[in-house]
Symmetry: C2
Subunit: 224 residues, 2 copies
DNA sequence: CAATAATAATAGTATTACTATCATTAAACT
DNA sequence: AGTTTAATGATAGTAATACTATTATTATTG
């Protein structure tokens, strides 16, 4: 049934967690509160002791859900990519023009449309995605983790948008590079606009980022 | 005198260090060996105890040069940007065509031409720049650090390349965004090619990255 | 109501990220 | 050459972090 596509439920590799945080109220609190706490104090300062105090549980209990804070970050970023996947379906259903699909995708990647989903603060989540998500793979054991498929959700988003690009121009050879350049670029520009403004060119236009990256992408795709 | 421009000496903000590592042999060893050690074990696993053992000195001594390992990373990345600045001068002197200047700049940002400079392994340095450099600003105290001008060297490179772009098209409004998109993009694609190949499109052509980002940049700049 | 699972409470360990102190060596200046 | 000054080495110690283990208590399920 068509509307089944619209039902959101995070599809996250079980290797990321020890006990599924979606399986209990405490687990949900671990996720939603870790997003808020990481937003407040940053991932480096964040630890399970502080998180347990914020939730009103103990360090040992959180360790039953996640091996360490790094795996929790991986879970949070995976959750974000699940959410993006859901938004992509939502915004691109019945859209026939692949140029429009691409623009919608970039739009989804640039701003969180809603403020809250269940107990998750999407603004805070997007903010930590911009500043912390790359730390989930810029680590020494990335190859080991990758073997377990923990980057599945990110890869899937890249594959989906890559496919849109190939519909626009089937001969384009650099669709994955282009997608990751745009995604990571958006995150960086958002961060720079807030902290290092001389590294970006923020304007009054609320859509300046969407327009910049859509232009960049579409001209690259249609070239030659 | 013209050749003064070609003399390389790192111009790094003194707020980054407690004692200038260029002022002693031990200081030089701290820099060159930290590059190799971070390359070997990654920045998370890296600490001053391990570094001191590798150098044959003590933890306390290294702490007299740098407040903590994060400031050392900032020094190393700043050193890299100094090196890039030097390379840009070297490759773009007497080049009149700004399109060529831009291509040369992207070339410099994509591959380290030499293998070794003094006691510094440039291959290892470039590798950790790709995987660790963004951690020097993706931190909670970024605003405090920025006040002290510690990101000066990165900003300068962005400004220099941004100026080249404005020579190509003085009406282009997004030169800084474009430069940081290209720089961070290069780092990411290098990393993905090595660890998460499905997120990029590496080819046999050794210049594929240079060509991709030059094409991307030049078409964006010349648009409208 | 019994059995099972989940969590709380508490304690403990190894490592990390430093700081402090003092002895020793090297450099620089009469 | 001898004295001051600075840099480093050696050692020790502390607070916090990143866990692990144990047992008691509560909630859930059969």
């Amino acid at each position: 049934m068509e509307f089944e596509l619209f039902k959101f439920s995070a599809n996250i590799r079980s290797d990321i967690f020890l006990k599924d945080p979606e399986s209990s109220q405490l687990g949900s609190a671990i996720i939603s509160q870790s997003i808020n706490l990481i937003y407040d104090i940053g991932f480096e300062e964040f630890n399970f002791r502080k998180l347990s105090q914020q939730i009103g549980t103990t360090e040992a209990t959180i360790y039953r859900y996640f091996e360490n804070k790094h795996m929790l970050l991986l879970y949070v970023t995976s959750w974000y990519w699940c959410w993006v996947e859901y938004q992509l379906v939502l915004h691109n259903t019945n859209i026939v023009d692949y140029n429009v699909r691409l623009k919608n995708a970039i739009k989804v990647l640039t701003v969180p449309h809603d403020h809250q989903y269940a107990d998750i603060n999407l603004q805070n989540l997007f903010n930590i995605i911009c500043s912390e998500s790359c730390k989930s793979y810029l680590i020494k054991n990335v190859d080991d983790l990758n073997k377990y498929g923990v980057y599945y959700n990110y890869k899937k988003i890249v594959a989906i948008i890559s496919d849109i690009i190939l519909k626009v121009n089937p001969a384009y050879n650099y669709s994955h590079m282009l997608v990751t350049t745009v995604i990571e670029g958006i995150h960086h520009q958002k961060y720079f606009a807030e902290h290092l403004p001389s590294l970006t060119d923020k304007t009054d236009d609320p859509d300046y980022l969407i327009n910049f990256y859509y232009q960049l992408a579409i001209t690259a795709i249609n070239l030659k």
